[in-house]
Symmetry: D2
Subunit: 345 residues, 4 copies
Amino acid sequence: VNRPVRVAVVGLGYWGPNLARALEEVDNVHVTWLCDMRREVVDRVGRRHPSAARTTQVDDVLDDDGLDAVVVATPISTHYPIALAALSAGKHTFVEKPLTTSSAQAVALARLAAEQALVLMPGHTFLYSPPVRSVKRLIDEGHLGDIYFVSTSRVNLGIHQADVSVAWDLGPHDFSILRYWLGENPTWVTALTRSCVLPHVPDVAFVNAKFPSGTIAHVELSWLAPSKLRRTTIVGSRQMVVYDDTSNEPVRIFDSGVSLPDFGSYGEHRLSYRTGDIISPRIPHDEPLVVEFADFVAAIREGRKPVSHIDLGIDVVRVVEAVERSLDDLGARTTVEADIEVEAA
Amino acid sequence: VNRPVRVAVVGLGYWGPNLARALEEVDNVHVTWLCDMRREVVDRVGRRHPSAARTTQVDDVLDDDGLDAVVVATPISTHYPIALAALSAGKHTFVEKPLTTSSAQAVALARLAAEQALVLMPGHTFLYSPPVRSVKRLIDEGHLGDIYFVSTSRVNLGIHQADVSVAWDLGPHDFSILRYWLGENPTWVTALTRSCVLPHVPDVAFVNAKFPSGTIAHVELSWLAPSKLRRTTIVGSRQMVVYDDTSNEPVRIFDSGVSLPDFGSYGEHRLSYRTGDIISPRIPHDEPLVVEFADFVAAIREGRKPVSHIDLGIDVVRVVEAVERSLDDLGARTTVEADIEVEAA
Amino acid sequence: VNRPVRVAVVGLGYWGPNLARALEEVDNVHVTWLCDMRREVVDRVGRRHPSAARTTQVDDVLDDDGLDAVVVATPISTHYPIALAALSAGKHTFVEKPLTTSSAQAVALARLAAEQALVLMPGHTFLYSPPVRSVKRLIDEGHLGDIYFVSTSRVNLGIHQADVSVAWDLGPHDFSILRYWLGENPTWVTALTRSCVLPHVPDVAFVNAKFPSGTIAHVELSWLAPSKLRRTTIVGSRQMVVYDDTSNEPVRIFDSGVSLPDFGSYGEHRLSYRTGDIISPRIPHDEPLVVEFADFVAAIREGRKPVSHIDLGIDVVRVVEAVERSLDDLGARTTVEADIEVEAA
Amino acid sequence: VNRPVRVAVVGLGYWGPNLARALEEVDNVHVTWLCDMRREVVDRVGRRHPSAARTTQVDDVLDDDGLDAVVVATPISTHYPIALAALSAGKHTFVEKPLTTSSAQAVALARLAAEQALVLMPGHTFLYSPPVRSVKRLIDEGHLGDIYFVSTSRVNLGIHQADVSVAWDLGPHDFSILRYWLGENPTWVTALTRSCVLPHVPDVAFVNAKFPSGTIAHVELSWLAPSKLRRTTIVGSRQMVVYDDTSNEPVRIFDSGVSLPDFGSYGEHRLSYRTGDIISPRIPHDEPLVVEFADFVAAIREGRKPVSHIDLGIDVVRVVEAVERSLDDLGARTTVEADIEVEAA
């Protein structure tokens, strides 16, 4: 019989309570523990989850033999030790993005999970958002042709993080989406940032990235902007797409392009430009967090590889690391680390 | 008495006829020569300028002792020899952007012009567009505060140039505007491009630029895009501006920002976010080309330094050169050449 | 001392639970009763208000001598009998819009309330929305000059009411806003509607209205539309305003207009057109429902006339009545009933 | 052999020169006369048409036996006498919209043309605009289903006509488009207008119209508006369309609607709402005026009924007449005159 998957949520700051709520909406999941260092926070959130036990000690959680999985939503710097403890205690582990603050830590966690046959899943929620999946399908089905380039902006006014750059805060969204859509990680990046408001806390970043297939990308990230923008343009050899997460029409497909006839190219190129229909496909309204946790549960129950899988999570950390190294080297071209895959195919 | 300034237009392709028409709209200017290698082109354009002499030979133009000035609108690769000949013949010279294909050539022309006390003016028409001037005024009057960063996109579908990259074609617009607004040229750039459609003709470019004052900029240029975009965001410490050249409201001022109180910053930063009114100031409808030629004529008559001045024109060529060198070096950080100023203050 | 105002919420369908929640956010208000005919509904909503008593009988509520006020959010057809009972029981009464289904009923309630010195307040929540108040202030301070005309659209796809026309459902929003902004009710209306989907349930209405001051208005209401539109244009002799409730910039002020010079109008009118700045003033984010209930409480405590006052509520019912009569008479011009005011000035 | 159709343009004010230019772009058409009361206007426009004869006397034009057709672009009040003279002289006649200032005159002209087997064509240019034709095709092919209603706004700031209301000036555009799309004229209208700036010159009009098939329409016309709007919503039982003449995507098709299941409608209506893809079809860029004149020439050469045919032109005049009568009667419902058709089927 199918007993519920028992999950603990560790870290109940800004994002954790959302995770607890979303977990409750997944079939056959039970939030059995709520944990945060701050007693009053645990108690406040706990009121909405009367059947969950409450604690300020992670050890209480990990000592529970009946617990199946831990969801980690603590500050980034604590992801590694908590996930390490959770995996060591034999728990499936979901870690909010970014997985860790270094790829070495991320690889170590992945190896531990693989040895123990546990699920270790990074929380790249955007991979479960309906418009992002819709674009993935368009790419996979060949509608866009070869992906020439991607240009993306993720900017708005606030909220400055005090201890982490905009690249670590917002970058994982775009780097995970690019990794998901393109099925590859950049070979190298260059990055230019500035710490406009707080010293030593970059709050705007311009990142250029080159991919093995030839695709190039620009990623603009900022906590300083006149208005919210979540806009990505994908230009393919056959069609183009604009994905705008703030729009009522989040995906727009432009049947436009240029073609180079084979014949007659004696120095003179006669290109043919095509501008066709524009389609805004209907996009369903599924909540990404709920779909994401359903995928986590399916990974636990059926051994299925989740869409937000560990190799992708490691790759995202590697891109942010390269961005940070580029910055230290004043914007120089910086190779993104590529490693042997941790999981078997 | 004020006799008309007599001007020849050399090069009557796509852009030249516009220049001839605009020149006629400037007070006390007379288009006395039209010149193009193609006889039928000269004749066709000549019909609209019945009092202008027509020729297919530049020498006919330069031999005319009564001629005051030459406007050069030929293909980019011919700018240098034609401008050299015009200056050598003692004519004031206006050269369409970009001034030359190398900064060495640009400097040589500038020196020649200075020696002969002739006006040499690059045609950076956007510096005369009302919204660009309106933003310049906002910056100069301190409304924006320190300029943290600028992010700009200049993209649309077509028209591919066969012999020149998108950086040489579209880049001078943005590099001249940035030079004008900020009063400085980048220290270094990194560039990432791709030749998507034609081999060896980059049709998309992502350029990052770092300025001496600390301002950073991203410039996106492309002949491949789902829709036309001419959008620039300027984020300052006091206010922010969006300049959109395709909009009915080309300049929008956002009275928004973040401030860092001096007190109480013991590790914990309590930033204060401000979101205020948004203003779309009325922008006049003056035609940039006509204002530009009026400035050229004033430079000739009164010795006034034009807004689109020669140092700025040289600096723009230097930025494009650095972009091209960065590309040859696979996107590496590349220093923008800085030289002693050619003109006296 | 200031003991809490004790309020009952009667009717817990779609809107009632919102009212209960908003009431709890007003200072010194206590929701003491929740009432709905459906036991399971009362219990479900009651869980969020543990200190409120629950009942399926209105009489239980009205028999409570400690109760100060009743908030009525039942189906429209029951507004009159419930409000009548509540006032008869000596309770201050807030009734969701529209107040009643006939102006005779509305006047009867108003008289009863006046006799008993009780507050009777119709729930025209839009009068408390920050953009609507911002426009009111612009009008009152004379920035717009004389109001020439108002044109407004309130359309989207769904939700069809089965027992009431779109005029009764959506019309009170616009008619109350117009009454509030202009300080007057229409003299007459003409209306054209159609029952597109359900027989005898008009789901689109075009209403024209003429006001005593000369202002004219068009109100478009529809449950059938390709996309949501909440857009009102107010054209005054000095400035114009667009109020768009779905926009991030809900109020936009256009400093544009036409003026007729006094001189030289010999048959030939030389009008002078002015197009100036456009301003999107910052609009605060106060929740209208909470502000509305604070106004209700102030009316109870201090005898202050609320913004959404009873005369306005009666006038709104009169406009919808006239619209319905116009429809019965195939779109003929129909006088809006005007009566002696119920309340003293 | 196919000798050119010889055409005279009478009236060279604001619009006439455009007509002359467009005529020259139609195959096998020759502009042989230019005529305007003002000598200097004829001479100025004549410079662009060197092979056309010039005159200030209409009689000179009509006396030319070699002339085939007259295009009338004079002030509205002179349309009737000039068209009457042209038809009497045996010339095919094209009259700018509106055809005449009364339907009696329009019918008289139509009868005269029919008797003489001459083409009489009103210049409803919008019927030749690609987006309007695209919508017509969608309707005719049944994609929209039954047309429930149409709502349209045609407003901007300026230009006030001194001698004619906004209904006569802008109304014919919308009334001709509705007549074309729906294939029927309204049964009755109600109108509400105001003369805001000039006395006795209505500059804003709200027109409601009821059609024989049940379709209803609202038409908003104004010379006073904060910004230009040319927006029409067509709601059908199957799909909905927004036609926005100022947009880069002038036609947008919304695959959205409501359906009423046959079963189970015992008082409780369970409607099913559908929101599907949105498509912006590619719209060609043909110039409406040129296509219109090609249709005029085809009508002359081949006896083909033009899209902008005389019955439609008469119907448009009838609608404006009814609008004016409604205004005289303070907005009362006013029957639109319907007559026996002038032309045979």
